[in-house]
Amino acid sequence: MNRSITRLFLLLSVAFAVLALMLGYWQVVAAPSLNDRADNPQAAQRERLIDRGRIISADRVVLARSIEVRRGGQDVFVRGYPNGALAPHVVGYATPQQGNTGIEERYDRFLAGDYGTEPLLVRLRLRAARGADVRLTLDTRVQRVADQQLIGRRGAIVALEPSTGRVLAMASSPDFDLGRVGGEFARIRAEDNAPLLNRATAGLYAPGSTFKVVTTVAALESDLGYTPTSEFDDTGRLPASGRPITNFGGRVFGRHSLTEALTFSVNTTYARLGQVLGQERLGSTMEAFGFGETPAIDLPDSGTIASGRYRGRTLLPNGEQGIDVARVAIGQEQLGVTPLQMAMVAGTVANGCTLMRPHLMQTITDRGGAVVRENRPEELRQVCSAQTSAQVTQMMRNVVREGTGTAAALAGLDVAGKTGTAETETPGINNAWFIGFAPARAPRVAVAVVLESTPGTGGVEAAPIARQVMEAAIRRSS
């Protein structure tokens, strides 16, 4: 009998050894992949125990910070927003339930203190787990004006510094209260007009006549010898792909220069220009401006969309032949652009045609004040010649001085700009655009404004808003 008992013990020992092996598999071998799973409440709880860094504006206003509270007998941190709903789409939320968005997601590693030697120091108990502070390029003095201008409207505003690519303001309306995300996420998501959507980077609109700036650059840069004084003749109608293109209000302009065509936004002339240039030339200029690729801004890719020609939801190559190039040239037909992309167009023209990488993070500093990361101005590419840039600037100044964009004029300052009025599927309801920069001679701010579903035009609706934002941006630095 005792032999059987010994064997029984061996059998039970083996069984427990198998238990130990399986347990080790889950706790040691498979643990990292289990911890990474999205629905893991343990991982979410670990995040609640981290004293995340602050998110601060360029003018040192705290946009987000972590506050220690006691929950269920444990010290946990919750995100607090001392300035309410300031730039919620940029700041983003950081919740265990919904995950992170915006800057909270893009710089999560730093905000959560999971960078460099920090995790090691924390593990060795040499330092408390505290995330680094992210200082943004956003200036609340500009941001507040932008937010204010959009109250009660749907649309977006992007303002950036042309010479550096720093984003001074990024507003999207309707917006939401970051403080409510934790508890009322489902209700916010169910609200009308998608308040969670960052229209500045993920809203696709037909650019309308603002796109004529791109067409102008393509024409001036082309081998066809166009200049701002090139002569055109307008009959008020241009047949294109079966449906004739007409001018706004049915106007007929007769003989006029390219400058005048931009100033008064002559559709027929630009459509003809598009046909002459062809999709290949126009496409290569678009490419240079960054159309067709997701802008290299420091926001999560999931919240940033590429601008360009779309068929349904599919992005087409910029230079692909065989579509209505005349309507592309005037910003209609298959074009879908984001306000960020159009601000980049304005900023590039303002910056001698050098495209700067747009960015929101200025510096990341640890709690001791040491700089961990820094975003320096970065040139992406030369889109066109400095001469073309100067010519287009001059033409855009005309738009504001005597053309469709007079409402954007600032007293004592040269403003360059271009309006856009993109028709929607509902007749009489437009998306109103304005892109521009100021001061024209030494630009300090470039801006793009879009308003959804308004009966008015870009010149009437969007230009005054752009003026307010540019004024705030210039006043801040003077």
Binding site: A15, V18, M22, A43, G73
Partner: protein, 451 residues
């Protein structure tokens, strides 16, 4: 030479230290307020073990000195974990521990010799079956399994726990009786030596009963436990691995048949094989358990520092206090801590089987084997379930899971085991008065070995 009981008293210290350190660790992790709650509870728990120790000192001084301390360590880990989950649970559990200790002492005081049980083996076996039938007829369904009976006061008891103890006693007596018949096969069936059908009959009946349990009570765990213990005892009684193998094969075949027919069992198996296919539904318990295990990692954050209970007091892993208590330990003490707990169980098994090996007679050996296997196998089944080694079934983790029936029965079981150990070293001799009344001519000096 240190006496076994003095040695036992010394070895009770680790359990007490683990309990006190654990309470301190939980208190430091939850610095809400310094509540005096856990200290009296810990003191009562320690006191109860000292009482059981004293009972052993008086009634079974020669019993194995390691069993009670090992149980003490396991119970301490269990109580601290319950306290960490919800202090009220630990307070209630200590009350059940008190009842368990009373039963432990009662067994030692009222039953001088476990051989009495052999005489009543059929009565005991019948009561086991009766208990199960009563559960079948009047049981209350909780979590889809009918394992509980609700008493008039609203208190629920698990008769299956007691049935498990009675079954072991019955099997020990029955197998001791039929050992020789079973061990000598009279013919071969399908190339396997088979015992006479008259002896095989009860075995097949038990197999049927166990599978009936699966279907009617929806309790795969208990069925597996009963049948596993039966096979282990059958193997030890006959020394024939083939019997156990054939029995296991039959059981597995039966289990597959049940799986093919009963949709609930299919769900269970699905949740086991593919928990991540439906992490919010069928696989929820298991997936949450695995997440908690992964969070514990190698060393664990320490008692009270893991994420097991939400702000509102609900458990992150369902039924954390009973089925998943092992997960709670592994999540906060890490792989190292959980390994320690598994070692405690294997040590308990080792001591139990040493007692069986040392025992002088067949009944004692089989009884000790059965009692030990029941504890070890039950721990294996539930731990294997929560770490996804085998399909999850709802049996308790001995001495740890919250709940009275399990604790009380397990302490009775340990008392029996220690009684076997004591009687091995000092066989029972009737007192002078009883001797005169029963067999006056027998010489007392020859009956017992010197102490």
């Amino acid at each position: 030479m240190i006496s076994p009981r003095t040695r036992e008293l010394g070895f009770l210290l680790p359990g007490a230290v683990i309990g006190l350190l654990g309470v301190a660790s939980v208190a430091s992790a939850r610095a809400d307020a310094v509540e005096p709650g856990p200290l009296p509870v810990a003191a009562v728990a320690v006191g109860l073990f000292v009482l059981m120790h004293l009972a052993l000192r008086l009634r079974a001084p020669q019993a194995d000195p390691y069993v009670l301390p090992i149980v003490g360590v396991v119970a301490a880990i269990g109580l601290v974990t319950l306290h960490r989950i919800d202090p009220a649970l630990a307070r209630n559990q200590v009350l059940w521990l008190a009842v368990g200790a009373a039963v432990f002492i009662g067994v030692l005081v009222l039953m001088p010799d476990h051989h009495v049980l052999e005489r009543y083996r059929y009565l005991i076996g019948l009561s086991a079956v009766l208990l199960l039938v009563i559960t079948m007829l009047f049981g209350t369904e909780i979590y889809g399994a009918r394992l509980w009976i609700t008493l008039p006061g609203g208190q629920t008891v698990q008769p299956g726990e007691l049935a498990k103890l009675l079954l072991v006693v019955f099997l020990a007596g029955y197998l001791r009786d039929k050992r020789e018949l079973l061990a000598v096969p009279t013919r071969r069936m399908l190339g396997v030596p088979a015992p006479p059908l008259a002896v095989l009959g009860p075995m097949l009946a038990l197999l049927g009963a166990a599978l009936a349990l699966v279907v009617v009570l929806n309790d795969f765990g208990t069925a597996l436990l009963f049948f596993g213990v039966f096979l282990a005892m059958l193997y030890v009684a006959t020394g024939r691995a083939a019997y156990a193998g054939v029995g296991l094969a039959l059981f597995l075949a039966g289990a597959v048949a049940v799986w093919a027919v009963v949709p609930r069992i299919q769900d269970r198996v699905d949740a086991w094989l593919r928990p991540f296919d439906d992490p919010q539904g069928r696989g929820f318990q298991l997936v949450q358990s695995l997440y908690a295990l992964a969070d514990g990692g190698m060393f664990g954050p320490g008692w009270g520092k893991g994420f097991l209970v939400r702000d509102d007091g609900s458990f992150v892993v369902p039924v954390l206090d009973t089925d998943f208590i092992f997960t709670a330990v592994a999540a906060e003490l890490g792989f190292i801590g959980a390994l320690g707990l598994l070692c405690a169980f294997i040590l308990l098994i080792a001591r139990g089987l040493v007692i069986a090996a040392q025992a002088n007679d067949g009944f004692s050996k089989l009884l000790a084997v059965g009692l030990t296997t029941v504890v070890g196998l039950q721990a294996f089944i539930i731990v294997g379930g929560v770490i996804r080694l085998i399909p999850l079934t709802g049996v308790t983790l001995p001495f740890m899971s919250y709940g009275g029936s399990s604790v009380v029965v397990n302490f009775a079981l340990i008392a029996l085991l220690l009684l076997v150990s004591h009687r091995t070293r000092r066989p029972w001799r009737p007192t002078a008065r009883r001797r005169r009344a029963a067999v006056p001519e027998e010489a007392p000096e020859q009956a017992g070995a010197p102490a």
